[in-house]
């Protein structure tokens, strides 16, 4: 995790530096804001990793970890099949198309997304 954290922090520092350099050289506001927003996004992720993941002790981070160190119940928690993603994508596509073709289609898509959201919660339990 430390390398991931360093990656986001260094990327954020780079983004801040280039935003400042760009403003000083170009005095152009759109580009400066874009670079600034990019820095904010990176700072957000780095901040999240500091707050939520700094205590993580991953076997993948240890040079000398044995394969058996990773054995256990956690490995077997992956979903291998779910009909929800394709229906969700269809519903979202209906919303998008509905915005330019028919408000009814967009409405149906929005309702479907809400229903599917409930299914996601149920399936995750």
């Amino acid at each position: 995790m430390m390398i991931g954290l360093r990656l986001f922090i260094s990327s954020a520092v780079f983004a801040i530096a280039i935003a400042i350099a760009y403003w000083l050289v170009a005095h152009e506001i759109v580009g400066t804001f874009l670079l600034g927003f990019m820095a904010c996004a990176l700072i957000f992720v780095a901040g999240y990793m500091i707050v939520a993941e700094s205590e993580a002790n991953l076997h993948g981070d240890r040079d000398d970890a044995k394969v058996s160190d990773g054995a256990g119940e956690l490995v077997g928690t992956f979903t291998t099949r779910s009909p929800l993603p394709i229906w969700t994508a269809l519903a979202v596509t209906c919303i998008g198309l509905g915005l330019v073709i028919s408000p009814t289609l967009a409405g149906l898509g929005a309702i479907a997304v809400l229903v599917l959201g409930a299914f996601y919660i149920v399936q995750s339990r």
Binding site: L34, A65, P85, A89, L99
Partner: protein, 543 residues
């Protein structure tokens, strides 16, 4: 994970329902790959119509409006639906295998990303069935050309919706990749031991995370302008048409690297295997990937030199800088081959083709990064040649290298070497015959995106040569398709590691089981499979 930790009880369903409900990263990867190849065939067919129209001056194969739709759909499909998504498919299949994970971090999100990508692409193409046809504003959809007053058709709206869906899918996939690599590495698979391809995908995902939101925002603003009375890009009401270009290229130039960094990873995996040497400069390759990613965020306005609205020296300088880490990569690849025991099998042929074509595209890239040259080359066929050498000669050749290299792992059979060699030479010759003359066309003054041209100078001859080359490329693609059919029908199974390769995906069976690994070797370097097969060499190698 241990040998006893196989997590899946039921065997996977092989019927249609099994595929469309699957959240297995390998199946989603294969769906991505086949879908993006499908879009590639469509986009390639459109390109052939374009080249046929341009074979002779004043030709009337298609009308001007149809031609505008053709190059818009061709560019959109190649960029949004083929080159970048193919890398996502490859990464979907490979990343968990390369880091020793049983699946992606968010399997359902992974499936959702794929279906959004598929439907987004279909929506874009469905625009062609509307009254005024598909979008006809180029893949860049510049405002005010894409404004409702000029582009009145529903096709343009469907283009906006479709590209938006694809961009959301790409962002979701990238978050999935980053999380998977950071969290789900096997014991001992430290970040400095993950394969270069996976590293390149981390850099690519970071780029997507930084750049694609700008595209999504740009599309939303355009939609608001077109349908909800907005004026973001309308100078008559206080808007700014240049804003579209800023937002678009803030995404658009990093997108070029989203389309090339994964393929740098592909080449970095293939060259060591067929040179029988470890990769030269592992750390340098990783650092250069992130240097390219970082610098690419600061070059967007080199596409806007001629607008007069940007600081040309700043963007020119940063654009030149990108050549440095790219040069580091070239040095590493050549040093890996140096004094290696090189075998010229099909993946290696395509990799060397990649190096040659991409080098030319890179050199012309440095040329047009200079504003005085760019002012001459802007919107000419010189730029068309440059971008096709980068994305066609570069990415496309790496895509074929990847297909030939990882095909045995995905499907358990090898593609035929003889047909592979024919495929390579037809594509290599066809590609260069098609696109090299375009440099000369650009220097002769032929503008891009015109549906015909005057019968003067070298234009007819050069255009005819380019068109003939495109049909040679078609022959190469057909040979590849025949190779797929023939090798699938013959079905000669291969073992887990037919290339004697290095990284972890070659440890498991071909194709891998649903849970990926029954056993894992000890991971003590970036070449765990090589170490397991050659413990004597591994013991002597300093870590």
């Amino acid at each position: 994970m241990s040998a006893a930790a196989a997590p899946v009880a039921a065997p996977p369903r092989n019927d249609l329902l099994g595929w469309i409900t699957s959240t297995d990263h390998k199946r989603i990867g294969i769906l991505y790959l086949t879908t993006s190849l499908g879009y590639f065939f469509i986009a390639g067919a459109l390109a052939l119509v374009i080249r046929t129209q341009l074979a002779h001056p004043n030709a009337t194969v298609v009308s001007a409006h149809a031609y505008a739709q053709l190059f818009t759909l061709h560019g959109t499909a190649m960029i949004f639906l083929f080159v970048a998504p193919f890398a996502l498919g490859l990464a979907n299949f490979l990343i968990p295998l390369q880091i020793g994970a049983p699946d992606m971090a968010f399997p359902r999100l992974n499936a959702l990303s794929y279906w959004l990508f598929l439907f987004g692409g279909l929506v874009i193409f469905a625009g062609a069935a509307t009254n005024e046809g598909a979008a006809a504003t180029g893949w860049t959809a510049y405002a005010p050309l894409s404004a409702i007053k000029v582009s009145t058709g529903l096709g343009q709206d469907m283009w906006i919706i479709g590209v938006f869906l694809v961009s959301v899918a790409t962002i979701l996939t990238s978050i999935n990749f980053i999380t998977t690599v950071f969290i789900y590495r096997a014991p001992g698979m430290t970040m400095w031991r993950i394969p270069i391809f996976t590293w390149e995908m981390v850099a690519t995902s970071l780029l997507v995370f930084m750049a694609f939101p700008a595209l999504a925002a740009d599309l939303l603003l355009l939609f608001v302008d077109r349908h909800l009375g907005g004026h973001a890009f309308d100078p008559a009401h206080g808007g700014n048409a240049i804003l579209w270009q800023h937002l678009f290229w803030f995404f658009g130039h990093p997108e070029v690297y989203v389309m090339i960094l994964p393929y740098f990873g592909v080449i970095s995996e293939i060259i060591p295997v067929f040179s029988r040497k470890p990769i030269f400069g592992y750390t340098g390759l990783v650092i250069s990937a992130f240097a390219i990613a970082g610098l690419s965020m600061g070059v967007w306005a080199h596409h806007m030199f001629t607008t007069g609205a940007v600081n040309n020296p700043f963007f020119s300088f940063v654009s030149f800088l990108i050549a440095v880490p790219t040069g580091v990569k070239f040095f590493n690849w050549i040093a890996t081959m140096w004094r290696g025991s090189i075998s010229f099998q099909t993946p290696m042929l395509f990799s060397i083709g990649f190096l040659m074509n991409f080098l030319l595209g890179g050199i012309t890239g440095v040329m047009v990064a200079s504003p005085p040259i760019d002012f001459q080359a802007q919107d000419s066929y010189f730029v068309v040649a440059h971008m096709h050498y980068v994305l066609g000669g570069g990415s496309l050749f790496a895509i074929f290298a990847a297909l030939f290299f990882w095909w045995p792992k995905m499907f358990g059979v090898k593609l035929y070497e003889g047909l592979g060699t024919w495929c390579f030479w037809l594509l290599f010759v066809g590609f260069n015959v098609t696109f090299f003359p375009m440099h000369l066309l650009g220097l002769e003054g032929m503008p891009r995106r015109v549906f015909t041209y005057a019968d003067q100078g070298q234009l007819p001859a050069l255009n005819m040569i380019a068109t003939l080359g495109s049909y040679v490329m078609l022959a190469g693609v057909l040979v590849f398709a025949w190779n797929v059919v023939a090798s699938t029908l013959k079905r000669e199974p291969v073992g887990a590691d037919p290339w004697r390769a290095n990284s972890l995906e070659w440890w498991t069976t071909s194709p891998p089981p649903e849970h990926n690994f029954d056993t894992l070797p000890a991971i003590r370097s970036e070449r765990p499979v090589f170490d397991a097969h050659h413990p004597d060499v591994a013991a002597r190698t300093p870590r």
